[in-house]
Amino acid sequence: MKYIFSLLIVLLASAGFSNLNAQNKVTLSGYVKDSANGEALTSATISVEGSVFTSATNMYGFYSLSVLPGTYTVSFSNFGYKTEKIQIEISSNITKNVDLSRTESNLKNAVVKGKKKENQVEKVEMSTNNLNIIQIKKVPALLGEVDIVKSVQLLPGVSTVGEGATGFNVRGGSIDQNLILLDEAPVFNSSHLFGFFSVFNPDAVKDVKLIKGGMPAQYGGRLSSTLDVRMKEGNNKKFEVNGGVGIIFSRLSIEGPIAHKNPKMKNKSSFIVALRRSYADALAKPFLVNNENLKNAIFYFYDFTGKVNYTFNANNRLFLSAYVGRDAFGAPGAKFDWGNKTTTIRWNHLFSKKIFSNFTAYYSKYDYQLGFGTGKNTFEWKSNIVNFSVKPDFTFYINPRNTLQFGVVSTYYIFSPGQAISQDEGSRVDFGLPKKYALENAIYIENEQKVNDNFTMRYGIRFSSFNYIGKGSALILEKNNFAQRANVVAEQTYNAREVIQSYNTPEPRFSANYKLNKLSSVKASYNRMAQYLHLISNTAASVPLDVWTPSTNNIKPQIADQVAIGYFRNIGKNLDYELSAEAFYKTLQNQIDYIDGANLLLNSQLEAELLSGKGRAYGLEIYAKKNSGKLTGWLSYTLSKSERQVDGISNNDWYNNRFDRRHNGNITASYEISKKWSASGSFVIGSGTPTNLPNTKYSFQGYQGIPQNASGLRNNVTIKPFHRLDLSATYVHKKTAKWESNWVFGVYNVYKRRNPFSYYTQNNPDNNMQTQLIRYSVIGSIIPSVSWNFKF
């Protein structure tokens, strides 16, 4: 560790500071945007002909490039856009904003042509997948509803415990190890309807980036991945309405410029609002009239996404975004609802042509409540996690060889693990748990250095610090036997803001890219990640009731170290095909597990029922992607293993994780048949996940069929493999400059496979003396769908 530190300091110190005053270079900078709607283009490439140096736009479309004074032909290119070549005389610092237009083919706008200059071979980033919304919309979806998380599940290294499960597992990590960001605010539960749909409205999303390894220093707080979802800014040229009507829900979004008729406001401000609501409850009502239990059932979900931005001047721009989503279930005498809320304010400020900064402040909340009972006899239970954060980030374009990023983040958390009140006939019992508080701070610095034409490095460090603070109390535990509940020896109370426990973790980050030739490169990376929040859940699939808990004096922060190496190659005339192969090895510390029969909810002594262990995961990922032409799509295969070792479980040996999938592959393809028709298909196949099953049974005091796993091994049986084919076809009904509409017809689970989600044992409901093994399939038949989408 010390060695890594010293190396980093030396590297950062030499990060081109010696070059600072080498020659009098001048800076070309500006923004690259979409000419049709003014959306900032991220990762667009700016290259100067006759020079090897290139620059790429950041998340806000900004670029900066230093050159010697002179006249240059500068080309601006981006995936799916026409390349602009502009001759620019650069004698002093100059701002050049460029609008690129889409390469609309005569077919659907989904067909993407043109060279992609900034490609995987050039970039230092690895273990990263970028998906734009156009690609995501092509993936056949359950009930025709475009789904970001489901698309992410098709990427290499990503798996899920089963259809309908919340979240996703990245490189053998658990679902709470993914940092899911919506315009920089973390989203704590990414699912509607327990996991069938994700919370992101595709009409409001611009692009999605999944980072599984070689994590840039600006990201932290979760071990396994960052899923960065960026919302659209809203069309700043004209009003646009998008919408759709499907079987489960309808969508509507409106975007446009604000006060654009005022010449002072032209291209300065825009907004987008997007709304979705399910109406399955209304549709299902006639079918439930005869169902005694369900005829008055309530079930719906909705989400609202809104964003507005304003450009003050060339150096200052402000963004405000908000999200509210909610799911509600209920029947007379019972209710259950949950949802996320996020708000983000961002201010982009240019300190100079070389220093771009962004100041973010966000608020994020996840809460649920459930209650039952009628009249005077009721039981109510609420829980939430709230966090506020302030986060300035800076990018210093030092010179063409070095780009330095640095920043600070400070986050305050309030955890409310459970407020529970039981009332009956006037008596009221409150058995809720007290709130918990924490403050997490991090500082990071990272430099991307082009050492020479073929070799690029990115190196940096993030230093994170977590304080579990009062008002609260700390349980002092004594472990006698690992497999059993620890004894609570004492409970110590702390005043507000008093530090109960603090942790500091240096997190070095390193990535390197060596170009073998124009078409291929090898990359390597190492990162250490620290995670201070833990999702307390021991079900196969996470549930909305799961509670987030901070690291405490008893719960140590989770730490992961990952190394990855990869080979990247582009082939084809227009570099149409991207191939990559990556291998990774990851070790995890302080993984949470549970004693047998742990009570995870409303338990004031939960910490006494937790176990801590270590994990390891390793694997190989192969990915081939075709970006352009009539046929587009990808093929992904992952061979991996994810294991855990916890004292007290499975004879203290290593055992396979519940989400370990040895083989996992898919083919996702889309084909443009004609101007009117296009078709997509997705085939997924994978080995089953391990599960725990009893092999014997006994009875006690009249209770029959009590299961016993006489082998004592955790996850002793492997579930049968899964595979599924989904198809969809899109018919463009009408397309003019002012109006576009299409129909999407889909068939999910074409050959009616009953993929096992889990196996479980039970006493036969018809004969309590008998026991049976049940295969539970979340989806057991063909699910057809049709939806209609429009845009004007």
Binding site: G164, D430, A483, L693, Y698, F700, N716, Q772, Y776
Partner: protein, 290 residues
């Protein structure tokens, strides 16, 4: 109760023809090992007391459990060192007829001793005094808790004993037969289900007091409830049984073995299943639903 909420939510999703399905399947679960199971919960009443010793069988074997005969089985009173030997009756059942109530005394500690050839099985438990019952009522309801059908539902009006850390087990008898399906296990910690000691000495909360059955009583049926004051160890043991027997559906947790409080003294590695506990018992009147 969270399970019930999940069930309800999932019933709704299933009704939406999301087409989830549950199929009974056969699978090789590995070679079973039969293990000795000792089932002993003894109370202070004058009723005949039973201990049952069987062997576990393969999970998917729907035959009956085989009784297991040991050389000596009984309970030792540590206050006076009297050994109450149980007599073997066949099918794994051992019995003992107390001369009167309170042969087993509140506050005393008792030891289970079972000798099988060279092996001696041992456990220890204290007998807690029972709580008292105020009343036991029934009422016709249009709907049971968690959407149960209309019918007669019973409510138990009883209080937790004063003092933190009391544990209870409620047993419902319908027509003198113990209701023993997975959903029938009802236990309490003080007057609720949490260890915080809030509500100590109060009436058992909703949904404990009215959650005895999801199947309402019909006319002519009888109902009776026993409340056993149990040890915390038995409470956790029953809690684990309840978890394991109700562990189904999308939100199943990894099944786990339930640790016994009985050990083989001469060979600690020898696994034994089941549980020994003393329990102070109180029972309601038997009521007939008109």
């Amino acid at each position: 109760m969270t399970k019930n909420i999940f069930r309800l939510s999932f019933a709704i999703i299933a009704a939406l023809s999301f087409s989830s399905c549950e199929d009974s399947i056969d699978l090789d679960l590995g070679t079973p090992v039969d293990q000795i199971v000792i089932d002993a919960v003894i109370n202070q009443t004058a009723d005949t007391q039973f201990i049952k010793i069987t062997k576990s069988i393969a999970y998917l074997d729907n035959g009956t459990y085989k009784g297991y005969e040991m050389d000596t089985v009984g309970i030792l009173d540590t206050s006076n060192f009297v050994f109450h030997q149980f007599t073997y009756r066949g099918n794994g059942v051992y019995y003992f007829v107390p001369s009167s109530a309170n042969v087993f005394k509140f506050g005393s500690t008792y030891q289970l001793i079972a000798k099988d050839g060279a092996d001696t099985y041992f456990s220890q438990s204290t007998l807690n005094s029972p709580t008292s019952i105020d009343s036991f009522t029934y009422a016709y309801k249009e709907r049971g808790s968690f959407g149960g059908p209309k019918g007669n539902y019973i409510t138990l009006w009883a209080k937790d004993k004063v003092g933190k850390g009391d544990f209870y087990w409620f047993k419902l008898y319908r027509n003198d037969s113990l209701q023993a399906t997975a959903g029938d296990i009802l236990i309490a910690q003080d007057n609720s289900t949490t260890a915080d000691g809030k509500g100590d000495g109060d009436l058992f909360i909703v949904p404990i007091r009215d959650n005895f059955t999801s199947r309402p009583f019909i006319s002519g049926e009888t109902a009776r409830i026993e409340i056993l004051s149990i040890t915390p160890e038995l409470y956790y043991y029953l809690n684990l049984i309840s978890t394991q027997l109700n562990n189904t559906g999308l939100f199943a947790v990894p099944p786990s073995n339930i640790p016994s409080n009985i050990v083989c003294v001469n060979d600690q590695k020898k696994k034994v299943l089941g549980f020994f506990s003393m329990a102070g018992k109180v029972s309601t009147q038997k009521i007939v639903i008109p």
